[in-house]
């Protein structure tokens, strides 16, 4: 599998490290219920199809990426820098 890094171009998946689902947001630790924290820490969807996930380009530009990948086919629909998403969320 190859991932097209927005900075480095198409690279072998060996250059990247997988973290997991990109979308879970940490609840406010002080206010969150135990159920909400359990959900955040342990419970993940396991979709057969499109999945947004975090990859780290450790052997390249050292940037965290959000990769949208089809878990059936490994086809990658999009790759973006995670910090671009963070900047978007803050705006």
């Amino acid at each position: 599998m190859r991932i097209t890094c927005p900075h480095c171009g198409a690279r072998d998946a060996q250059e990247f490290t997988y973290l997991g689902a990109a979308d879970p947001q940490r609840p406010d630790g002080m206010a969150a219920t135990e159920a909400a924290m359990t959900e955040y820490v342990y419970l993940r969807d396991n979709p057969a199809g499109s999945h947004r996930e975090l990859w780290y380009h450790g052997a390249g530009c050292h940037v965290w990426l959000v990769v949208t990948r089809d878990t059936h086919t490994h086809a990658i629909a999009s790759v973006e820098a995670a910090r671009a998403r963070k900047a978007g969320a803050a705006a």
């Binding site: 480095c8 072998d12 052997a59 530009c61 050292h62 940037v63």
Partner: protein, 205 residues
């Protein structure tokens, strides 16, 4: 303060690892590795939004702007080499006068002197691409990787940065840089990979 005499001497990153000579297949030399030494090297990392002011400072001082794409830009005795978003390597041909330059640039970026932390060599010769194809997981065909392009990648599980300089009489010219602590492991891969082509190792002029 009085200078304290010690027996400490600068030591090339290749000392005890690689030496001038030839190895591998006899006959025509397929690749030539030139061991680089004595250069100054620093990482420049700009804070978000500060890349433009850093680039202006470098340009004002050295006449070269920092590349926004994975490229190497050379001017006189210095090279600016892209190393990631908002990150660059700055290389000086000689270490003399490098520290004052870094002190100046420190106003614009996180600057870290890496002159003693990397081992580098230049690779050329008619079989250069055949050799690199054995370890580099990138398309280095001239249509895909032009003169002046750089890549941060791995070879034999070791982190490397490489770039392509202007072609020489024997075709493409690449420079490859690895962490100094990995130079021995990298050279082990290199000698095994280059042997079939016939390799000459040379010191820098």
């Amino acid at each position: 303060m009085a200078e304290i005499a010690t027996s400490w001497r600068p030591r090339s990153a290749w000392a005890g690892i690689a030496q001038p000579g030839s190895f591998g297949a006899k006959g025509k030399t397929g690749v030539v590795a030139t061991l680089l030494d004595g250069f100054g090297l620093a990482t420049l990392i700009a804070e978000p939004g500060a890349a433009t002011s850093l680039s202006r400072a470098v340009e004002g001082r050295l006449g070269i702007a920092l590349p926004e794409m994975p490229r190497i830009v050379s001017g006189g005795a210095h090279d600016a080499i892209w190393a990631g978003p908002d990150q660059w390597l700055l290389r000086a041909a000689l270490r003399d006068g490098f520290q004052p330059l870094l002190d100046e640039l420190a106003a614009h970026a996180a600057v870290s002197d890496q002159s003693d932390a990397r081992a580098a060599f230049r690779l050329q010769g008619p079989r250069t691409r055949d050799l690199l194809a054995k370890g580099v997981m990138l398309d280095l065909h001239p249509s895909a990787f032009g003169v002046g392009e750089t890549a941060v990648t791995s070879v034999a599980y070791l982190g490397v940065q490489l770039w392509r300089l202007a072609d020489g009489p024997d075709g493409p010219v690449f420079e490859i840089m690895v962490a100094r602590s990995m130079a021995g492991s990298f050279w082990s891969w290199f000698t095994a990979a280059a042997a079939e082509f016939g390799c000459r190792v040379a010191d820098q002029d």
